[in-house]
Symmetry: C2
Subunit: 219 residues, 2 copies
């Protein structure tokens, strides 16, 4: 019974996701869905990307959280428009929530909308939210077996950034294993190695994100 | 509509969880529900506890995973009875799955059954699975804001082990903040600082786990 209902919700979610995508397209806004485990570095990576992209694009952020607004406060401190989406315990963001929140932004004054999804490698992968593309984060301390254990999130993401790469040696993390498994699940996935601590790889990731934004908002 | 269905499933889950608990009680088995993010160190902590407890107790393991059997293979290598529960994409373990799997074990030959839940700080917290107690893991690289962001899992766990404690200084992790917030959510929670890398704190954690096992199987 549970599976049946999930299926209905998900079909309905797809329709709303398409509607969100259309609305963003009308306003020439690129929505980036940022996914990853709790503590993978979603907020810090978004902040690093904002630093490098904000001279070129007008950026807004939706911060998804189960409780509190710690991350939204960090974005707010940057002086960007940010909305906190409190899922009140729910484990993922649905398109309907994004549709509702879009009315809080002046979309004609935005080029890019980052959505930081709930910290979870499972459920968010199943729900499109009208995104132009998905960026998945996997941090080194989580271990190099995570693509095998949580395949869907990597199969459905356009890019994978291995974050906290400065800890690769400490954890004996096999980044080739991760890249190999990610590309087996998803041959088109772009793989980056980054570190918010020392800035490694962030320029390469920014260049790719920027290219995808340009492709989206030029349409 | 979605919330309503979740509620029905969860009420039903509670009934099954009680039935599992009764069956385990008849056979004098203590079920330990181990929760935490992907990569928090659930498997390695279970292995460390098994090392320290196996002379005293007869131990079995249920390894929950969305896909694959990497962790079950590790337990199998220890020569213990293990069953892999493949949730086929589902984000948590339900009591019905445990009820079904119990028939795979010779319960009269067990004292302790570890269940490694799906790597997820959200959904598993909502589902009792007939456990005697819950052990939640939070690893240092995940960050010291996780109790505030994912309160339910810590509010419902009997113990919290901060794992990968060897990385505390590297990450500037405020363990007092975590302990304070965990105890605010749950005044009875036991807090441990452990490291599978250097063994720190594992004897203290083992002593507490052992005490809880004794209290359960003495009944």
């Amino acid at each position: 019974m549970e599976i049946k209902v999930m299926h209905q919700v998900m079909e309905w979610n797809e329709d709303v996701s398409d509607a969100v995508k259309e609305e963003l397209s009308r306003h020439n806004v690129c929505l980036i869905n940022v996914l990853g485990s709790p503590g993978a570095g979603k907020t810090s990576t978004i902040v690093s990307l904002i630093d490098r992209l904000r001279e070129r694009y007008r950026i807004g952020v939706i911060e998804g959280d189960i409780a509190g607004q710690i991350d939204a406060d960090k974005i707010h401190a940057l002086g960007l428009p940010v909305v906190q989406l409190d899922t009140d315990g729910a484990c993922h963001i649905e398109a309907m929530s994004i549709q509702h929140i879009l009315t809080e932004f002046e979309l004609d004054k935005l080029d890019v909308l980052f959505v930081e999804n709930i910290g979870n490698l499972v459920c968010p992968a199943e729900f499109n939210i009208g995104e132009s593309f998905r960026l998945a984060l996997l941090s080194i301390p989580e271990g190099d077996d995570k693509v095998e254990k949580y395949p869907l999130i990597f199969a459905t993401s356009d890019a994978l950034a291995m974050n906290k790469y400065d800890l690769k040696e400490y954890f004996g993390f096999d980044d080739q294993r991760v890249e190999r498994n990610a590309k087996a699940a998803n041959p088109d996935i772009q793989v980056f190695r980054v570190s918010s601590r020392d800035g490694m790889g962030l320029d390469e990731l920014t260049a790719w994100v920027s290219k995808r934004i340009d492709e989206t908002i030029a349409k």
